[in-house]
Symmetry: none
Subunit: 537 residues, 2 copies
């Protein structure tokens, strides 16, 4: 098993998606989202996960409490972010500093001012007091047994304005016991040549261990991060998919890919890089942003080739036309006007699911056509394995697996004069030759439909009782006419046994209720198939 | 008037959006699109516009014919792209080369192989013949009075494999009369340090005038372009918004912004940079891609600030928190409202919206509290400006703006035995002392509610007739219990006048229909407020 020990401490991959990444416009993370992202980041193998600012808001405080109870990290250490003590007070008496200790995180990143004008205008204190604030707070946290990193905010702008003062802050942090001092290009205006020169000078002049935190305002955050490493930085702060304030932060994925594949530097546990594409997309899913199709290394277009000039040469030697083997990062080559990739992946998928497709090229072709036709209408099978397996079995076995037939259903949502809502659904079904009419209420129309379906079927299929809807996602496709768009619903269902073997189903329709119903039907059909029940219809 | 003469020939901004940019997955340009983009690029002030490959396809041939009749360039020169002659033939006899001359473009970019293995595997000729092909084709085009640039394809990979051969191709091109030899990182796998070293060496060894063409596969195309300039390249090839094959090309906008604002190098006509945001969005509009919100310099988020921490200091001195004045690139600062925000950002936002909060600290405190409380329940105001403004006005004016009161509503979705769906909604409202009951059908329950609301109100508020729902987004929050989660809906509404002034509203409830209803209520209330209608309730 990969453990945190498999990589030594000499180089740090530090992720701040949950803190700085959450500053991105359009991201609004719940505690559950933060826990899910932390699990993905740890799976990926980053060394440090900065979880937020405990004490600054109830959500971050709750995250620190829950993550330590609910998540066992295999690779990462948990980091709390906070500020140096207030001017004129003792660190031990500062409630914000105490909250960092009380968070229980073994590592603390302190943000410190290193730009003289920021000290005066934003902190409204003297330059000397700011240095004392850094020294005191680091010392106090070290006494409390915490490992301390110090983020020098606005370092590069500060260095231009007053290099001696900026370096004095680095020295104070390092001398007080900070393990790494991170030079931050907070406003993101730097270019690589300047980053490299400043990091080299500060390293020579202070001897402190240095890290880099780059923002992407010039479109150079990845290059700036690598330039700092070239100059001797041994700690890189990044965010998944480059999420962050304004344009964003240095993107974790191209940074680690460059270090591993271009520098030949081992910065992740063995095998992690091959999970990169999956992890990138999974995190995008949690924050509810469409994964960028054109993201370096992990975008679906990153290894896509338009047919033409070099199509034939790619067949001879693909390495002539790609800078790395896409499998190294869990991505794949795509030929944009060829269904060869489609056939191959369907054959592979059939093998993976244990559905025998044999050498039946016609059958595979039928599946390819049906998937293409449905994806054109908005279905996505990448995220709906169970719906895909049902489709595959239907084609392979010549008929759909059916446990019930739907005659009709109805959902009513009513907003009453007292402000409460009534949600009621009725389903009319046939199962084992019997006509079933069932009605149920719920906290919404989909929930009411779900309950009515169970109420109707549970006597005939008691296996349904333990199934549980775990996740429900809605995406509006082609939003050019508002509510007249197509709606896609993805539902994740579990067997309630905590086996961790969930399955996902998809529905697409002109409205959210009809799309949800399709995904529900597939979810229960697959649940029964999975439980070994024989189809009856 | 700005003319091409206002910038000398010592540095070239060369745009290849219409040729290499069009290789992007998802872009498919008509001749009219290409003409429109060419106009925008010339307005912006690039020195060269590569229009395509005349003779390679009818569209590009037609473009070259029409652009010279229909467009008068103020700044740019038109460039035709093509390949060196075929092996074993005369350049003058090669129809592909003749098509370049016949295109009428005063400048030709020739693509040449400079990687030995590509010569052997893709061209299937000898290394010497390839050099002869470069020399002959350049000489022939020079005799025909054309200015010639040579793109050395796969140069950096070729240089790694066989540096002497790669340089021999550069020399042959330069000696035959090519004005600029462009070193291309065709597979995009390079990092800035390597680019800089190779460009410096080739420049010293060949004495040719060099250009750079970078692809973004490592996320470093902008930095790679600048690294080449640092090493002495005086010609940069870019595409608008970084469009291009796979991940994309070096993005024109951050490249020229860095050169003008960071290097202090005049590469565009006076005043052009201030048009950059507009031009970037206009080109995205033509190619039918949503402008990237997080693009450096020109994205709508590029100067958006979220954190409360920064907001208080931004009031004191905005330059402390932005790397450039956004007006320099035609963009603007935006304050986002979120639960991380404090009083300062609410005050700034009030100012931006023209709602006077004055020095009423208690009022601002009330707004902050209400925003925090609502964001905890799942509302998000950073993406719902109109809902925020309604909230702000309600607190500032002591009462909500109301144009109607809702007694109750009901939505019914019915799946009928024939497989069709019926969606029907009824609303019961009061407006101007009158009780209104209205029913409508739609293609989904939200659409039916939207129509019922309009049917009911349009007689009293004819202004509602022209409002249009433009976008509809659903997000499930805290998805731990599937359909029992909270649902957030964001709706974007426009006034149908094509003014581009849309507004967004938010609703949060235990189910998607109730959440949509809230967002619809806010959308119409804001639409009436915006139209100057006096509240009646």
């Amino acid at each position: 098993m990969t453990t945190a020990d498999s990589l030594d401490d000499s180089f740090h991959v530090f992720d701040t998606t949950l803190r700085d990444g959450a500053q991105r416009e359009g991201i609004n993370l719940t505690v559950a989202d933060k826990l899910a992202i932390a699990r993905h980041l740890d799976d990926f193998g980053v060394g440090f996960i900065e979880g937020g600012w405990p004490g600054a808001n109830p959500r971050d405080t709750e995250f620190f409490s829950r993550v330590q109870k609910e998540v066992t990290f295999r690779n990462a250490q948990l980091v709390a972010f906070g500020a140096t003590r207030r001017p004129g007070a003792r660190a031990a008496d500062d409630p914000q500093v105490r909250a960092l200790v009380e968070s229980g995180a073994p590592v603390v990143t302190l943000v410190a001012k290193s730009h003289d004008r920021h000290v005066e205008l934003a902190l409204r204190t003297t330059l000397d007091e700011n240095v004392a604030m850094v020294r005191d707070t680091v010392s106090y946290l070290r006494e409390q047994g915490r490992r301390v990193f110090v983020d020098c905010e606005h370092f590069f702008d500060g260095y231009r304005a007053n290099p001696e003062y900026a370096k004095a802050v680095v020295r104070a942090a390092s001398e007080a016991g900070a393990d790494v001092v991170i030079l931050c290009d907070t406003n993101g205006g730097m270019l690589p040549a300047r980053i490299q020169a400043v990091v080299a000078t500060v390293l020579a002049d202070t001897g402190a261990r240095l890290g880099i935190h780059a923002q992407d305002d010039t479109g150079c955050a990845v290059a700036n991060t690598l330039a700092a490493v070239d100059a001797g930085a041994t700690h890189v702060q990044c965010t998944a998919n480059g999420y962050g304030e304004r344009v964003g932060n240095a993107n974790l994925f191209p940074v680690v890919a460059a270090l591993e594949l271009k520098y030949g530097k081992k910065v992740l546990p063995e095998g992690s890089l091959r999970e990169m594409t999956r992890i990138s997309h999974a995190i995008a899913e949690v924050v509810n942003l469409t994964p960028s199709t054109h993201q370096p290394y992990v975008g679906v277009s990153a290894f896509a080739h338009k047919a033409g000039l070099h199509a034939s040469a790619i067949k001879v030697d693909p390495d002539l036309y790609q800078h790395i083997d896409p499998e190294l990062v869990g991505n794949r080559i795509r030929m944009l006007v060829s269904d060869m990739a489609g056939r191959a992946s369907i054959e592979l998928k059939g093998k993976e699911l244990g559905v025998e497709l044999g050498d039946d090229r016609e059958l595979v072709g039928r599946v390819v056509d049906r998937v293409k036709e449905r994806e054109l209408r908005g279905y996505t099978y990448e995220a709906a394995d169970a719906s895909f397996e049902l489709l595959l079995r239907e084609e392979a076995e010549g008929r759909a697996r059916r446990y019930f037939r739907v005659e009709s259903w109805r959902a009513i949502v009513e907003d009453r004069p007292d402000g409460t809502h009534a949600n009621e659904a009725t389903v009319k079904l046939w199962a084992k030759g019997e006509r079933i009419v069932a009605t149920a209420e719920g906290n919404g129309p989909v929930n009411a439909l779900d309950r009515a379906l169970r109420v109707g079927l549970e006597r005939i299929y008691p296996q349904l009782a333990k199934l549980e809807l775990l996740d429900y996602k809605v995406r509006i496709l082609e939003g050019t006419h508002g509510t007249e768009s197509t709606t896609r619903v993805l539902i994740t269902t579990g067997d309630g046994a905590g086996s961790g073997e969930d399955w996902s189903t998809v529905g697409v329709a002109e409205n959210v209720i009809a799309a949800s119903w399709q995904a529900l039907e597939d979810a229960y059909t697959y649940g029964l198939l999975r439980a070994g029940v024989e189809p009856t219809e």
